[in-house]
Symmetry: C2
Subunit: 407 residues, 2 copies
């Protein structure tokens, strides 16, 4: 660990050096908290902590860029370890070559990944490798896997969560064997999917839950799917969630963004950019939700919604890579292997496409009529029959009259 | 600039080194983009950019810690400059000693501050000095100062913004002199306070806006204040906003957290922690809103709501400094000079205080009955008549029966 520290001790973080008491951002204090794992110290370390966070890395090479990357990640981990020092979480590095046997035993297969051991479970972190994202991920992981809903206001809170998958079950009490199965199932998906439960008849009635029933809510859908054949075993619940895990419309989240990006359909993503806090973005998102609700039974459709506010550092990169303006809503198709893309023509953000127009466009994407390859020749030959990369020319020919019923 | 770079080139940022196309976090490329400002190059640089971002710093000292801090900030600025390279924003450093004359001319008075020149306006940034926060701040600053509301869905979006001050005006059209005054006023507060306008009669009717009227919405209040004596000049609008800028309940935001923290009342803040995405936190926030609505006319009351999700890196620091558990809602009084604090006793997060109980507590704080000093002796003498720092013992004696009407 020493070499890395010589270079970067105290350099990270961003740290406001203001003197105000009550708002002090942490700076790395230079103390070594992240240790190298070996077969020798493994058992002892595992016993010591409630949670063990393992960074599984390729052998540190002599390549300078790779070294910097590695040191960077090490400092991020050190800072996270420092910040969470009182939470009984261990942090270790696992060298893929030196500790190949141990890694195999632990089931690690992707170098550069971060794994967390919690009891007999292994959770993979596949999100933005930043201190704040990691801290929040770990804090979520040490909370109870099931959140209890006790009263009307908490039902409201539950109902307001619309941008992620959620499950809720109604059980007799905490000792119910079905509640226990539900808890065990929740642990499989913690912290990525939220599980709620109630023991309150009033709450159950408001949510139309029968005893021992669990409802599954897809993001942005008003009506849940009642999981069939209650009561359920842990395995049945886990299987159901796994089968329904890819929604029609989902929000890209820092904590599992890479996993989501890898979960493409036939090598592409339909990506929609909309800033929810902006009136145009909000409006576009409402239209997207409508499209998702109308097509929730189509297994070939999964739209990825990105709120630029969640990724300020990527906004400029996306604008350059996709040649679009992210001050207004956008929807397009992105090829995940080369980031080639085509985008729907939205001439004016005061005149967004209707749900019907969006559905037609989506259909053209799914049928292959709109795709990322068709315009490539055009770009190179510069035929000049349209003004650039914004759209597939088919689109323009078909949809001349999109001025009418926007409201 | 060179010295700093030798140490930290490429060390910042966090950067995921994944190879997925479409999600590449930026790493600093080592190129110098931030320049030192002097009277010589000032005019030329100012002319070159739409926006000029100036870091006004004390002379770099020989103290190692101060040097590191300075270098850190420099790298953050370099990364921000790199990311926003195509947006025509300039980034400069202003040495407080070397360029004292220039700084005075520019009206800079707080060393360590970041100022942004936009036309003839100077905007001070007093938030978290992190690349993502800064990028978002600057992107917000180059957007139009007024957002136009065109239709029903956008009204919905407008109505959903409840956690910050917002203004909306109804004007004849873009050429209206009153709209222009409104735009000018908006620029005084951009990007901290959102200004909206509509030219649509239907929208105006829905929001009960008369022609040339501007309504001011305090955070979390259902009903706006109609600014009196329309139509208004720019100065009248600016004055009104300045007078009403401190709300009864406000959310701590990364982009102006230090400014907010400095805006204490008699050296204290009433601070409430509530995680909005959590059912208990949501419930507590609803109760807080109730208290705020009931007391909106009390100029001595300003509650600071902190959502721990907005500040993952500060959670552990707050837990240690304030000796509280942030997995559940908390409300307390914090002395801003020494961060000494007392917290309301909330024995069980399934049994949160009612709005009435909270109001009683707030009254005791405002009257000085509950304060951060009373328990200090107790702590030192360790009289042992209560279990720690959680509360003022007065509180415990008075409120034995808080088990009843929570729902």
């Amino acid at each position: 660990m020493k070499r890395a520290h010589l270079l970067v001790v105290g350099v990270y973080l961003l740290a406001s050096c203001r003197a105000e008491e009550g708002l002090k951002f942490p700076t790395y204090d230079g103390k070594d908290r992240v240790v190298s794992l070996s077969e020798k110290n493994f058992k002892q370390i595992l016993k010591k902590y409630d949670l063990l966070c393992l960074y599984y890395h390729e052998p540190v090479s002599s390549d300078k860029v790779a070294q910097k990357q590695f040191q960077l990640r090490e400092v991020v981990l050190e800072l996270v370890a420092q910040v969470l020092e009182h939470k009984n979480i261990g942090f270790v590095m696992v060298d893929a070559k030196k500790e190949a046997k141990l890694a195999k035993k632990l089931g690690f297969d992707e170098e550069g990944s971060l794994y967390v051991l919690k009891g007999d479970r292994t959770v993979e972190f596949d999100g933005e490798f930043a201190a704040d994202v990691l801290v929040e991920f770990l804090l979520d992981l040490i909370e109870d896997p099931v959140e209890i809903i006790n009263n009307k206001l908490e039902v409201q809170a539950f109902e307001r969560i619309e941008d992620q998958i959620k499950l809720i079950g109604f059980f007799k009490n905490e000792d119910s064997e079905y509640y226990k199965a539900f808890q065990e199932a929740a642990e499989h998906f913690q912290p990525y999917i939220k599980f709620f439960a109630t023991f309150d008849k009033g709450v159950a009635k408001r949510l139309s839950l029968k005893m021992n029933e669990v409802d599954f809510y897809e993001p942005f859908m008003d009506e849940p799917i009642v999981i069939p054949n209650r009561p359920y075993t842990e395995e049945e619940l886990v299987e159901f969630v796994k089968e329904h895990q890819r929604p029609t419309l989902r929000r890209l989240r820092p904590e599992d963004m890479f996993e989501t990006w890898e979960d493409d359909l036939n090598g592409i993503h339909i990506v929609a950019f909309a800033e929810k806090s902006d009136p145009d973005g909000y409006e576009f998102l409402e239209i997207l939700k409508q499209v998702a609700r109308d097509n929730t039974d189509n297994p070939d459709l999964s739209i990825l919604w990105i709120d630029p506010d969640d990724f300020p550092l990527l906004v400029a990169y996306w604008e350059k890579t996709f040649k679009i303006d992210l001050f207004k809503p956008q929807i397009g198709v992105v090829n995940v292997t080369d980031a080639d893309s085509v985008w729907m023509e939205i001439p004016d953000d005061d005149d967004l496409p209707t749900a019907e127009e969006l559905e037609d466009w989506v259909e053209d994407v799914l049928s292959g009529k709109i795709n990322t390859e068709d315009d490539d020749d055009e770009d190179e030959d510069d035929n000049g029959n349209d003004d650039g990369d914004n759209d597939n020319s088919d689109e323009e020919d078909n949809d001349d009259s999109d001025d009418d019923d926007d409201e």
